[in-house]
């Protein structure tokens, strides 16, 4: 049962990590679950799962951007609701249309923030890879010298 649970938790890891390491990690589980303790290995894998999604991928940044956009829309929705209670209907004639409008605006803002965050992440990754390539070549030259 613990092996099935371990394999299932491995399947929840990001695809790149899973492809690279999952078979070997399962092999280590088979070898070490008696000596190390199956539940300790499971707990370790659970911690690794959290680290992979929260730290190694940009997933948390995208989530934070979407939550930030949603929070920014709250005051706007509040103003809109108050204007409705004062019978001032600036943009929509019915509450259903108003709600639809608010949702569309929120989605558009989230999309824009998502695009900006993705572009920044991509640019950072490219510059980091370039720096890494430079560092490696310098190191190779140093070791050759």
């Amino acid at each position: 049962m613990t092996r099935t649970l371990y394999a299932s938790l491995l399947r929840l890891h990001p695809q790149a990590f899973r492809r690279q390491f999952a078979p070997e990690m399962l092999w280590i589980f088979d070898e070490a679950h008696v000596s190390e303790g199956a539940w300790i290995l499971l707990f370790d894998l659970l911690a690794s799962l959290c680290r992979q999604w929260l730290l190694r991928t940009g997933f948390w940044k995208v989530t934070a951007a979407i939550i930030g956009a949603a929070l920014q829309m709250l005051p706007a929705l509040n103003v809109f609701a108050r204007s409705r209670s004062l019978s001032i209907r600036p943009m929509a004639e019915t509450p259903v249309e108003a709600q639809g409008f608010a949702v569309i605006v929120m989605c558009m803002i989230s999309l824009v923030i998502l695009l900006v965050v993705s572009t920044v992440l991509w640019a950072t990754r490219v510059s980091r890879l370039k720096a890494l390539a430079n560092r490696r070549s310098r190191c190779r030259l140093n070791s050759a010298a």
């Binding site: 690279q20 078979p23 070997e24 092999w27 190694r56 190191c139």
Partner: protein, 117 residues
Amino acid sequence: MVEDLSPFLPLSPATLHVLLALAGEDRHGYGIMQEVARQSDGQYKLGPGTLYDNLQKMMNQGMVEEAPSPADNDDPRRRYYRLTPFGRAVLTADVARLEGVVRKAKLHLRPAHGKAK
């Protein structure tokens, strides 16, 4: 030309132990786990999750790379890893940093030891 390795220092305990385990010879994942436990007299144990999470980070940073399997009839699930020259340079720099820490610690602890007497 002296390279600036300060962005990579100080190394986390897991990274330091993995680099130390690979400093002597190429090892597979389970071999690294066993070597880390041996080097620390069983006081520091790495689980596979922590190990491969760190290995992935180190491979992305160019400190560790995959090595060919030493035996032809080896289990295909076993993959071997080795230290790159860059990884060795980072490890050397961190060991030098730790030596400095130990030197300073000894210097500061000596008078306190004297006062206690």
